[in-house]
Amino acid sequence: MAETEWEPKIVAFCCNWCSYGGADTAGMGRFQQPASTRVIRVMCSGRIDPLHVFNAFLEGADAVLVTGCHLGDCHYVNGNEKTEVRYQFLEEMLQELGLESDRLHLNWISASEGERFANFIRDVTAKVKELGPSPLKPAGVS
């Protein structure tokens, strides 16, 4: 792997009902994507703790994706509205830390939106490739 082009490492938190399904649908539709992303499944995007996101950056993530159901479609009534509030907090914190805004993304993706999921991964990967490795990435981590 060492000789090939640098591939960023992106952690994507996906909710069980929508965005994880969207990632599944992307697979079923064979929408090819860069192999940059590692999906972590939670039941609701409302379970995504800023702690998890910071941890991902500290462990070496070049970008973190927070994803869930479209607003109004949350399987748990309004978990994603809470996600949105927490995301705003995260955004501000990362700004304070000096991280580029393209390293953190919030996206609502339904279980049927496979192509949208794939495009999202492609776009973020391309942007992060331009930025280079995260300044928070510990030395020696791949």
């Binding site: 998890h52 049927s112 981590v141």
Partner: protein
């Protein structure tokens, strides 16, 4: 310490012994991922007792291998790296449970949808990614704890939303199996769109003649309670225990006293130039019975045009009229829900497609159905709207609002056959009429459909392979359709007396509202999404909620009825068993760490959390396991089981590696 807690403690105390089973899924995974290399790598990871490759882990042989390994190697965690948990997690959970392991000690890694299928030509990258994904899974598996699902009693009643042919079939089947059904219909009569059709393909049966008796059967069925002119407002609860609030819209008459005799309609002085049942064509009164075969055969008042003259009240011998009637609500307890809320036909008016809305003599298929129907506004005499004269030439345009990048890309599937049927009906009734069908492809699968198409060709209907590029109107309101026959390359200007747009199906606002109330997923085409496109065509991802008919996507009548029956069968499983299992994933509080701050309480949308006497109280039966509250907990006392912080953080940590993988 409860027995459950004791088991949990024992499992926690044991060193994790993880068995990893890497599935090749034939070439689905094996084609892109070097599964043996993944297994070899995984075998080197901490806590992994065994790592093997299976051709198909979900097969009998694969499952037997898992069970054997649990027994022989003393595994206390099992990890399968294969496809999506959405379809296969229940299978493997059951498998490990059969071998005596708690089902929640199973971890699933999706290296098919999330790896091999999206990196099909990048074998090295795919293999590397698969190794890392399994590494994340192994780390999480080591932290898994046993959980118990609880058995809940099931209310042995069903709710069917929508009383079109699909909903009627579902209600009949559930009713016939001996369970009570509430059949909620937003319109004043059951029957749905099928009641409006003239004939049905490929047999050309009269639609209402075959539907009418079924509508009566529904009304007669002792187990079915029809709630017409009613809407589902709220749904709460979970499989087996749904609480449903239904709004009954006022008809402004007492439905039990009305006999549907029509005396009120005769006396009503208000003539409205619009009929719902006849697609807007013709007139009705302010008080009216929706259509002659309506079930229930009861009148209703259109308050928006009523002048409160009192003529209907005087005419009604049974004193049924009640102009002060208010909307009322019912609270229903049901165990299962079938959604058959239906569709609407595509509306070409906003875009004025093919001159619709600009030229009088351009109409839709549904309008044509009412025009040619013997009980329609013209008593079955086909006339063109501009001068009420019988058309001498009629053109049908296919794929209006279907297979079109500007509207809907999907095929609505029934419209080819509908136009073939309508064209034949014209030829039967008025043999001298010139009939053209302008199409891209004629799609006629299923029994007797292709034969039906051949019959249409033999009857003298002219087929032009091409859709009109331009539609204009002459001074005498004839329609000129300029169309290229792509089979001959010839461009023709057809002068037609009537142009019928074969409109496709789209979801409706009311169906969308129900979808949002129930939180069923929405497919890209706007219809509701099934749990699996092949294996679970009428299930949703929500236990106890099923979808059928047009709600799930465009389809014809036999397919809709099949789905109605399928929904009934799937739903009745719960009713017949009388019990259902709820998910073991809930939140739990560590009382030693909880500081009783109450931050979590307002996070719960299900009121499962409350502060009582300075202590956090969790009602597990109300908890749906989303974990939103756990994020709010400042001390980490509140944890979502199966998605605890240490479990998720173990995954996060193992995304990354030091050195080579």
């Amino acid at each position: 310490m409860t027995e459950q807690e004791a088991v949990t403690e024992t499992i926690k105390a044991e060193e994790p012994r993880i068995g990893a089973f890497i599935c090749e899924c034939g070439v689905n995974i094996g084609g892109a991922v070097d599964c043996q290399a993944v297994a070899d790598y995984v075998a080197t990871l901490p806590n992994v007792t065994t790592a093997v490759v299976n051709k198909y882990t979900c097969s009998d042989a694969g499952q037997a291998e898992i069970k054997n390994a649990i027994k022989e190697l003393g595994l206390n965690r099992v990890l399968v790296a294969s496809c999506t948990p959405k379809t296969h997690e229940p299978i493997f959970r059951a498998c490990v449970e059969e071998a005596g392991l708690n089902p929640y000690l199973f971890e699933f890694v999706n290296i098919r949808e999330h790896c091999s299928w999206i990196h099909m030509w990048e074998k090295e990258d795919a293999t590397h990614k698969a190794k890392e994904m399994v590494r994340m899974g192994v780390a999480r598996a080591a932290k898994l704890e046993p959980l118990q699902s609880s058995e809940v009693p099931v209310t042995n009643k069903a709710l069917v939303i929508g009383a079109g042919v699909t909903g009627m079939q579902a209600a009949l089947d559930i009713g016939d199996m001996g369970f009570q059904v509430y059949l909620v219909e937003q319109g004043p009569s059951i029957g749905g769109k099928m009641a409006q059709l003239d004939k049905t393909f490929p047999t050309n049966d009269c639609s209402i003649c075959i539907l009418g008796p079924k509508m009566v059967e529904v009304a007669r069925n002792k187990n079915i309670e029809i709630m017409s002119y009613s809407e589902v407002e709220e749904v709460d609860g979970y499989v087996g225990n749904f609480k449903v609030k239904v709004k009954h819209k006022p008809r402004y008459l007492n439905i039990d006293d009305c006999s549907g005799c029509g005396l009120c309609t005769e006396k009503c002085p208000v003539e409205v130039p619009y009929t719902e049942f006849n697609e807007g064509i013709g007139t009705r009164k302010a008080i009216y019975v929706p259509f002659p075969q309506a079930v229930p055969l009861r009148a209703l008042v259109d308050k928006s045009v009523c002048i409160d003259c009192g003529a209907c009240s005087k005419a009604c011998e049974r004193g049924a009229i009640d102009m002060e009637q208010q909307e009322t609500f019912s609270e229903l307890d049901v165990g299962v829900i079938v959604v058959a809320a239906g569709y609407q036909v595509y509306d070409p008016e906003p875009q004025h497609e093919y001159g619709f809305g600009l030229y009088d003599n351009v109409i839709t298929t549904m309008e044509f159905e009412r025009l040619i129907n013997a009980s329609g506004p013209t008593m079955g005499k086909v006339v063109r709207p501009s001068d009420v004269q019988p058309p001498k030439s009629i053109g049908f345009v296919q794929c209006v609002g279907s297979r079109d990048k500007n509207s809907n890309i999907y095929c609505s599937s029934f419209c080819c056959m509908a136009s073939l049927k309508n064209a034949q009906l014209i030829k039967e009734k008025y043999p001298d009429t010139e009939v053209y069908i302008m199409y891209m492809d004629m799609r006629t699968p299923f029994r007797m459909y292709e034969e039906f198409y051949n019959r249409a060709r033999d009857s003298g209907i002219k087929f032009i392979r091409g859709k009109p590029a331009e539609v204009t109107e002459t001074e005498d309101h004839n329609i000129i359709a300029r169309v290229e026959d792509t089979l001959t390359g010839e461009i023709v200007n057809l002068e037609l007396d009537l142009l019928v747009l074969s409109v496709g199906a789209v979801s409706t606002e009311s169906t969308e509202k129900i979808r949002q109330i129930l939180k069923v997923s929405r497919a890209a085409d706007g219809f509701m999404m099934e749990a699996h496109p092949k294996l679970k065509p009428v299930d949703t991802t929500l236990d106890g909620i099923f979808i059928g008919g047009m709600t799930q996507g465009p389809k014809d009548i036999p397919y809709s009825i099949s789905q109605g029956s399928a929904c009934a069968a799937r739903a009745t499983r719960f009713l017949a068993q009388g019990k259902a299992l709820t998910e073991g994933i809930t939140v739990k509080v560590d009382e030693d760490i909880c500081v009783s701050c109450g931050m979590c309480v307002p996070m719960c949308p299900f009121q499962a959390l409350s502060m009582e006497e300075g202590k956090l109280n969790i009602i597990s039966a109300l908890c749906k396991g989303c974990g939103t509250c756990a994020v709010a907990c400042p001390t980490g006392a509140l944890q979502q089981s199966h998605f605890k912080n240490d479990q998720l953080l173990a995954q996060v940590k193992n995304v990354f590696a030091y050195g080579e993988v």
